[in-house]
């Protein structure tokens, strides 16, 4: 804490600080020497092409992609032509511009996406220099050809090539150039010696920067700020001129006193900066220039590159990754030595409070007396956002929280959202993730884009955690991530899906299967989709469940595809029950019959045909007799017919449908007894020998409380059932007689259990005797 200002350097009214972001995880033998390097803004990935200009055609340089912390993301040998320039698009795709004007696009994990050409003219005269730039319209490519003409495409996703007018008097390559975005147009600013031209679609206009020091004979370097608003020029006399990019206003001019051409120059400005400033890099030296005469000098050990950001410049070397920026206002107020700003006092107050010292109160009083407490809290919160070290963040937030206690109506949102943001930022800044976003960048970038980037790096769990933590609405957050995840798994390889499908038990994978199935359903054509499902029982059953409720017809198609005629038959039978209209019902059943035959299931086919016949029969009768019949089972139909006296029709069904005799007899028996038509019953019993025996006759009479009728049938009952029959009509003696005659021990027992000792003691004796003799044998 005490050393927060240790890495601060004053420049004019402001301070600049250099923070170490990472020690690079890569292990580069020669650092960045002889490498083509491109680092994406907003803490994006770094692409590296080693030894690209050793032009032997057999040499296969290695293209490597790293995270900002230097962890490898991809690596593959470069097999295409000579690369002139690497660059990143706004959506983290890598562009490789070749000598012949072909641009190859890779994703950040090294997957080839597509390529496009910058036109015939470029491929004929070859690429001399190229610049990749970002604008509100996307990522653009500008090329200076061997014929010293510029060709430009503003958006690589919608390529419209523009060839810019000729630059008058240009003999060799211009001393420097840059792409500007002005008036919704991309323009090129070219320096030829001391002359400066702006090239747009139609014209080449000479321009003069106001107040450029006259000693200069040539402009050797130029750079445009991140926002395209400002321009910096470096002359051969070592002067840095800074002004607006429309060249109407000069902001400052500083003499660097170094005349050697620099390696790189970049703006180092933050929104609400106190002064314009640029960073110029030479071998081993880094210079910050601002408004005043003084400069800040840093020594560089290693070959480095500068990556301009919205609020500073990142410096990447073979071993380190640093951020150079103007110290933000809030931080300066708080940490500046001997600062009496409210935030600084609050921080002090909190420190004393932690030490349990009464000085805390003194400091607090001081702030409160000026009624600046809420300002103090705000400063601390804001400063926390700009600090990189979690410890410092915490200290500031604790101080803010402490200060908040003494405020009655301080709105909590700012504090809460800062805490959340920082938690997320610290997570993505982590070495293993390697996205060193500053809070300002994060706010500019928006959370959606950050999640996209995480997804793009396949950091799905982190992306989901971030969504959940920030309570992003599901459709923007978690669901979207999951969708990408599933798509990724799908796209990666079908084999991979197979692996997922065979692990059915854990919920995420169950969910995944579902996601994948739904995704594939939309992506593949039906045939392929079904073919794929066929080998995946888990996926198939999940999908079937879904179809059952949502897409009945799909289910049918599914069975069709499989030639599962049995299931198709069942499907149609089921469908027939949903139909109200008889014709439709029969039509479905006919389809079922066809399918059953195809399935060689004759039984089901025949049964279904029977059902169709039955339905037609039922309808005919309904129309003729007005009895409700359609939909009844055969048995119920016959019961109904018999109960309303339509014996003929019942008989017809009995014959037509090969109803077993037994069933028919039961039916008749029951129907007659229901009607208590005892006369008819007797006639029926005598019509022929009963296939169900005569005990049921006895029982049915008893059931209807007609003992008299029941007795009529007792004699007809077979010997085996005699005892039962007698007992049924309550004739214990008869039962005893039969049992003894049959010498059946268990039957005798049954009869005995029905005798009461008081009334039938004679009988009991007889039975017991009989039992004894039977047992002896």
């Amino acid at each position: 804490m005490a050393f927060v200002t240790a890495n601060w350097n004053p420049l004019g009214d402001a301070f600049y600080r250099k923070i170490e972001l990472y020690e690079m995880g890569w292990n580069l033998k020669d650092g960045l020497r002889d490498c083509l390097v491109a680092a994406a803004p907003y803490g994006g990935p770094i692409a590296l092409l080693k030894a690209h200009n050793r032009c032997s055609p057999s040499a296969r340089p290695q293209l490597e992609i790293f995270s900002s912390s230097g962890l490898p993301l991809a690596s593959f040998p470069w097999k295409s032509g000579v690369v002139k320039q690497l660059g990143w698009t706004v959506s983290d795709d890598l562009l490789c511009v070749q000598e012949d004007g072909t641009v190859l696009v890779y994703d950040l994990l090294g997957g080839f996406k597509r390529h496009f050409s910058m036109g015939n003219e470029v491929s004929q005269s070859q690429v001399l220099e190229t610049k990749i730039f970002h604008s509100p319209y996307g990522t653009g490519v500008a090329i200076l050809t061997g014929a010293l003409r510029f060709t430009l495409a503003t958006n690589i996703d919608d390529i419209k090539l523009r060839r810019l007018p000729e630059v008058p008097g240009l003999q060799g390559a211009p001393s420097c150039w840059a792409v500007l975005t002005q008036d919704r147009q991309s323009k090129v600013l070219v320096a030829n010696g001391s002359h400066l031209f702006v090239l747009d679609n139609t014209a080449c206009t000479p321009v003069t920067p106001p107040g450029l020091s006259p000693q200069a004979s040539s402009i050797v370097h130029m750079c445009v700020s991140f926002s395209y608003k400002y321009l910096a020029l470096l002359t051969d006399s070592g002067h840095v001129w800074m002004g607006t990019s429309n060249l109407k206003e000069k902001l400052s001019e500083v003499d660097t006193k170094i005349k050697a051409p620099p390696k790189q120059m970049a703006w180092c400005r933050r929104p609400k900066s106190q002064q314009p400033s640029a960073v110029v890099m030479w071998d081993g030296l880094l210079l910050v220039v601002g408004e005043c005469k003084e400069t800040i000098q840093y020594h560089l050990d290693d070959d480095s590159i500068l990556v301009p950001e919205l609020d500073g410049v990142r410096i990447i070397s073979g071993t380190h990754h640093e951020l150079l920026q103007e110290v933000p206002g809030a931080c300066e107020e708080i940490f500046k030595i001997a600062s009496m700003a409210p935030g600084a006092l609050l921080l002090e107050a909190h420190k004393e409070y932690e030490k349990e010292s009464q000085k805390a109160d003194e400091y607090l009083r001081e702030i409160k007396e000026q009624s600046l407490l809420s300002e103090a809290v705000r400063q601390c919160v804001e400063a926390a956002g700009h600090e990189h070290e979690p410890e410092t963040q915490k200290t500031l937030l604790r101080a803010a929280s402490f200060g908040k206690c003494f405020l009655s109506n301080f709105p909590p949102e700012q504090f809460v959202s800062m805490c959340r943001d920082l938690r997320v930022l610290n997570a993505v800044r982590d070495y293993t993730v390697g996205i060193p976003l500053s809070h300002t960048q994060f706010k500019q970038m928006t959370i959606q884009v950050l999640i996209d980037r995480l997804v793009y790096r396949k950091l799905y769990p982190l992306a989901i955690e971030v969504c959940r933590y920030l309570k992003t609405p599901e459709y923007q957050g978690v669901s979207r991530v999951l969708k990408y995840w599933a798509c990724y798994k799908v796209c990666k390889k079908k084999n991979y899906i197979l692996i997922i499908f065979v692990q059915p038990y854990c919920m995420p994978s169950c969910m995944l299967v579902y996601t994948v199935v739904m995704y594939l359903k939309n992506e593949l054509n039906r045939g392929d989709f079904f073919m794929m499902l066929r080998n995946q029982p888990v996926a198939l059953s999940l999908y079937k469940q879904f179809c059952k409720h949502q897409e009945q017809d799909t289910l049918k198609d599914l069975f069709n595809q499989d030639d599962d005629h049995e299931e198709l038959g069942n499907f149609y039978v089921k469908a027939s029950y949903k139909e109200q209209r008889l014709e439709a019902r029969i039509a479905h059943l006919q389809s079922a019959v066809d399918e059953y035959y195809k399935a060689k299931n004759e039984f089901s086919a025949k049964t279904t045909e029977d059902e169709m016949r039955l339905l037609r029969f039922q309808r005919k009768l309904e129309e003729e007799k007005g009895e409700q019949l359609v939909g009844f089972s055969l048995h119920d139909t016959m019961t109904t017919l018999l109960s309303v006296g339509l014996h003929k029709h019942a008989e017809q069904l009995y014959k037509d449908f090969r109803v077993p005799d037994k069933r028919f007899w039961w039916l008749r028996l029951k129907a007659l007894a229901e009607k208590e038509d005892w006369e008819e019953l007797e006639k029926f019993s005598k019509s022929k020998k009963s296939p169900i025996g005569y005990l049921p006759f006895v029982e049915v009479c008893i059931k209807h409380h007609n003992k008299y009728e029941a007795r009529k049938y007792v004699s007809k009952v077979t010997l085996e059932q005699k005892v039962k029959a007698h007992l049924a009509v309550g004739d214990v003696e008869g039962a005893a007689e039969a049992a003894i005659e049959r010498r059946n021990e268990s039957e005798i027992g049954t009869v005995l259990s029905r005798c009461s000792a008081t009334t039938d003691h004679l009988l009991v004796e007889r039975l017991n005797r009989a039992k004894a003799t039977v047992a002896k044998k």
């Binding site: 599901e474 038990y505 888990v538 409720h549 089972s633």
Partner: protein
Amino acid sequence: MAHTEWRDAPELPDFSLLKRLARDQLIFLLEQLPGKKDLFIDADLMSPLDRIANVTILKQHEVDKLYKVELKPIVSSSDQLCFLIRPRIQTVKWISDLVNADKVAGRFRRYKIIFTPQKFYACETVLEEQGVYGDVTTDEWNFYILPLDDDILSLELPEFFRDNFLEGDQRWVTTAGSALHLLQSVYGSFSKVYGIGRCAKMVYESWRELMEEGEQRTRQPEFAKVFLVDRDVDFVTPLCSQVVYEGLVDDLFRIKCGTVELGPDVTSSDKSIKVMLNSQDKVFSEIRNEHFSNVFGFLSQKAKNLQTAYDKRRGMDIQQMKAFVSDELKGLKQEHRLLSLHIGASESMMKKKTKQDFQELLKTEHSLLEGFEIRECITYIEEHINRQVSMIDSLRLLCLLSITENGLLSKDYRSLKAQYLQSYGIKHLLTFANLRQLGLLEEQQAGETLTVMESKVGKLVNDKTVGKLTDAFSSLAKKSNFRALSKRLALVPKSGEEYDLRVPRDMAYVFSGAYIPLSCKLIEQVLERDGWTGLEEVTRMLNGQEFAVTGGSSSSEARNKTDAQRIVLVMFLGGCTFSEISALRFLGKERGCRFVVVTTAITNSARLLEALLDNHA
């Protein structure tokens, strides 16, 4: 069954804690939608919900009106609708339609769906497809387990059986895994896990994954062992008629969520009475595990005792009378009330069950289990079908016949099926398709040809290979192997021996001494052997898929003495019957341990078969 010592039954852990947890979470979820709201509840969640949070509690948390989900348009004037539902596509679709209808009518409401016990992705997909995903908020109420009694925990998920075993839908597997995880996190870890069945294996895997994710708590375990068993390992037991009191009550009156509604014919009054059946009911707890033939005698003895207790009043002085009224009378009154209810129930039971029909039905079942007089059984079943005695019972007998006989002869299969269809309609073609798929009702054919092939091949190779071949063949044919299993495990006691049902000698008493439930026998054997060793042949006949895993807590010897080591958790995936629970209680008494049953739902033959009908959808 020689038991050297009778130890005291160990104390069971307090499962009411689970209810409290569920209630707290529900209240939290309701509070997430502040203000007055109407609550729509899935019909089958009503009773379980009532056991967790009654209407008063719901009202306290600003639930205005309560509705049952009926999948029909609703009448509600509330601006906030909350739905408490099972994750079913159909219900979610209904909600989507409501939301869309409101949109068309220009009506603005807030909707919240609380899925219990968990969300399914499919449901959210439906919301998305119907274009209402952004209009509703969804939540999960992790109400996994409802303690029905001291030793019965239910997931109350009857659809688990059909979804998992018939439809091959494994979504519920994680639910079962989570339920175990919940038990473990509340009551401590287990020292050993056994299981048999495909689903059991997956549930274990899912549970293990949860264990690995979550933090490990080192607590004194309250259970010694867990046994996971798939319902399809033993279909015979749930298909048998239940004859133990609690099972019979379930078969006759259907116990719903631990409560039975007794109709006017039982209560001998003009209204129905709802009775909670659990160990709190002193009368019930004494008869629940008894064979029903003993119950009546027991109850009349009890009535006599009660009378004597009442009679004590005579000859009391005022002081004594006062003490009697304040101390005993209330208890006696309560006992009186329960007694009269149970007497009513058992009377109606005797009326129905001692009739000739039932005796014959039981006789047929016993013959099937024993494998005697199969022809007579078939004739009996035929008559049963032809007389339209009972749709479900006929089906039940058919299935029993098929399983015990290893499938029906082709001729019988066709004729019985045809007759059944004549009685109950062609829609049962679908039922039969389902039954065949589950191996409940099959044609023998395939199995026979395989057996022939098997024996031919068997002659050519050595014994070990034969075993493997048999494995392959039996899994192909999905044979039930009941006869062989029954022999191996001595499930059917020798016939002819007298079996005194008042003094049960083994678990067979729950089926009148005719059959020891296969599921319970397996549990007994595995616990006895501390694993599957020695049961290789049995597991082979059950299509393998058995496992035994030693859990996290080690040094089992040291803990052997504690009560916890004598509590065994048995999880039935796809439901369990009261007969099985009674059998396990008996086994527990014999072995001086206690069983806690976790089941996806309480089932019986009717529920099992009804789940396989295809008349819905």
